[in-house]
Amino acid sequence: MSELQKKILVFGLGGAGCNTLARIAPRAPEGMEFAVMDCDFQTLEACNIENRLAVGKALTDGLSTGGDIEVGRRCAENSASQLETLLSGVDLLMVVTGLGGGFGTGSAPVVARMARHLGLTTLFFTVLPFPFEGLVAQGKAHSAVRKLRTYADAIVQMPNALIQPEGDVLLEDSLERSSRTLAAGVIGLWRMLAYTGVCNLDFSSLHTMLSYCDAFCRFACATATGEGRADALIDSLRTHPLVADSEIFEKAPGMIIGITGGSDLKLSEVQQIAEALAPKGEECWVKIGLATDPAFAGRISAIVLAAEAWKEPLVDDGRGGLKPLAGDGKQGELPGLKRSRTFGGAERTIWNGEDLDVPTYIRRKIKLPR
């Protein structure tokens, strides 16, 4: 990747994250960067990713969190400085984690918060537990998603039960299938951003998508070959288990379609795919990315990222909440505004979004008797 390109990091959290990345990494294109973090040293040891962050030695002594979210959270928080070093310089963070356990569930919100703080764009691929894992795991996953929503730019939820192959399958196949689905998403997106295509998807388009998508995204991916491959591709995208409802695409207020093909990719095919998938509404925001890769000769592959809702981006109000972005939120507040002139350059007293340095009677619009 050239100097100008943005740095993308794929980050696995907890046992599920480590295992999934270990499966993704061998098939990843060159130049893709991975990192994993866990408090269970055994899991990390077994993982083939070189960039590892072992945390929480003091809390768990190298064991797992035992399903305790609090421990997971504190592990991550205690290693804030290491995490910050790891995340600094990254532009897009793709986090892969399983929710419902201890470490991933507890640390994901911390990572999200830190990433927001550092100004990263974050996309969370979260694998949700099977129904048989019990209501507690489901509940944990649910509350973690809610916490993530505050800080993450986009969250793709993948219920484990939905991405299983049909029929009575081997456990290994099932795991393979989940990681393959994830891999397709992560790698597909990375390829779109990293390769220069005919009309490649650039970083800012993705950023627009992620910041407007109101946190939740649907995601589907498919590959097809041979005669009538465009039709086959459209079909499999629409019936993708994670989409569940083909209307999702039609109603999506925002969508990114990434198509990768070999040198034999035809315009008619692109047109066909785009027309079939793009939402029908007039005000929809659609961005189509095309990339060609010699490795894809004879094949055509597509990923679709569809927003569930669209709204003004929210920005962190600095107190753990979110507020609608007014104007260009990326441009930080001017230093002069943070300091108060009346009080000799001391920091302004902001309380619940109100500037208490301004006289109360002015803020409350109380008329002074004259």
């Binding site: 504190r74 928080e77 205690n78 804030a80 400085s81 009346t342 009080f343 000799g344 350059g345 001391a346 920091e347 007293t349 309380w351 208490l356 340095d357 006289p359 109360t360 009677y361 002015i362 409350r364 109380i366 002074l368 008797p369 004259r370």
Partner: protein, 410 residues
């Protein structure tokens, strides 16, 4: 044994106070020397101009030494008012095991120590500094309010720790300033906590009370219930803000506004005085003026009401509002404002009074007001920190201090 001699230094926004006192064996204080100096270079409890603040601190210390006919010595205790303090309750617990390492057993001293250790480990962001860690009551198998759980049968032992933390940069700057005087800063204590130590009686702490220290640049508050600190915090709004409000609202300069606030200010809008006018005397280039008392009182009233409401909201958020049986106690310079207790009574819907320092001799009546509460409380806090080293009743005290290792709430 000579009574410990302690110096407290309060670097406030409006005044810098130095108090030298001896702590008698019964816990009473004997004030030996007082030094005060108008504060400079401090805003909202933060240092904005180092050299000016340093100069003012030195002058206050000289004044105190002159009054006490004694040298301050090497170390002082610092009152860290402001610093955007906040409190955080952290509950830690351990499973209790019997001698066969099975769950459920008798709680031993080791269990208690371990639970305290777990509860005390509270991660703080880098920009915050720990001021106090105060232990709450124990909780045995979900049953709370237990003072000493030793020898009880239980499966789980939990204990809460209330952490009062402030902004690191602010507190460290204050410490650095004292080191440049040069004296050693032994410890820094939260201003609100100090005020509470000075004015509260054990009965009030048990009944539930909020102490509000109305300072020049910051307003600190602390809530007690059942004898323990339950909530603390600081808002960087104080008397300076009122002065600034008067400046802009009535078009006066700072000095005039300050004088007007002190002489005619009132936190209540008195209907009877609504037609009254206050004349501002003429001075160099400024021809005298007349302002409406009602306007002045409206400005002060809206500001003070807001401060009280912010605190009341905080208390409400922690579901402590019904527990303030002993009401509201005001300290600090702002408590001298006319009508302030009535306003607090309205907002908190609880009895309110200006705090009186108890068990303290050597202050003249005029100063015995609530103004020195934080400094006096700081000396008391320092004494409580030193005590365990004293030889008297050493064993008992060491044991106690171990038990309440998080720091005493007294």
């Amino acid at each position: 044994m000579t009574a410990p001699f302690i110096t407290a230094l309060e670097i406030g926004t409006s005044t810098i106070k130095v108090l030298m006192a001896e702590v008698r064996e019964d816990g009473g204080l004997m004030v030996a020397g007082l030094g005060e100096c108008e504060s400079r270079g401090v805003r909202k409890g933060e240092i904005v101009e180092f050299e000016m603040a340093l100069d003012a601190v030195r002058r206050a210390m000289e004044a105190a030494e002159a009054a006490a006919h004694k040298s301050i010595g090497e170390s002082v205790y610092l009152v860290a008012s402001g610093g955007r303090a906040e409190s955080l309750l952290h509950i830690g617990g351990i499973p209790v095991l019997n001698e066969y390492e099975e769950p459920g057993g008798e709680i031993t001293r080791e269990d208690i120590d371990q639970a305290l250790e777990v509860a005390r480990k509270i991660p703080l962001p880098d920009d915050r500094i720990r001021l106090h860690t105060l232990q709450q009551n124990f909780e045995v198998d979900g049953r709370g309010g237990i003072v000493n759980p030793e020898r009880m049968l239980a499966e789980e032992l939990r204990v809460g720790m209330l952490l009062i933390h402030g902004q690191r940069a602010v507190v460290e700057n204050l410490k650095k300033l004292t080191e440049n005087v040069p004296v050693v800063c032994t410890d820094a204590a939260f201003g609100g906590f100090c005020s509470a130590l000075a004015v509260l009686t054990p009965e009030q702490k048990r009944a539930g009370v909020v102490v509000i220290d109305l300072g020049g640049g910051t307003t600190d508050f602390i809530v007690y219930n059942a004898g323990l600190v339950k909530l603390a915090g600081s808002i960087a709004v104080g008397g300076d803000h009122i002065t600034a409000d008067i400046c802009s609202g009535l078009n006066l300069n700072r000095r005039q506004a300050e004088a007007l606030k002190k002489e005619s200010g009132s936190a209540l809008i008195n209907r009877l005085q609504s037609d009254q006018n206050i004349s501002i005397p003429a001075e160099g280039g400024f021809s005298g003026r007349v302002v409406r008392a009602a306007a002045l009182h409206t400005i002060i009233n809206s500001r003070m009401e807001e401060i009280f409401k912010l605190i009341a909201e905080k208390i409400e958020d922690d579901a402590l509002s019904g527990m303030l049986t002993a009401g509201v106690i005001l300290t600090g310079g702002g408590s001298a404002m006319e009508g302030i207790t009535d306003l607090a009574q309205q907002v908190f819907n609880a009895p309110c009074q200006v705090g009186r320092v108890h068990d303290c001799v050597g202050l003249s009546t005029k100063q015995e007001g609530a103004r020195f509460a934080a400094a006096i409380g700081c000396v008391r806090y320092a004494a409580s920190q030193i005590k365990p080293e004293a030889p008297i009743r050493a064993a008992w005290r060491t044991w106690l201090s171990k038990l309440w290792g998080g720091g005493s709430h007294e």
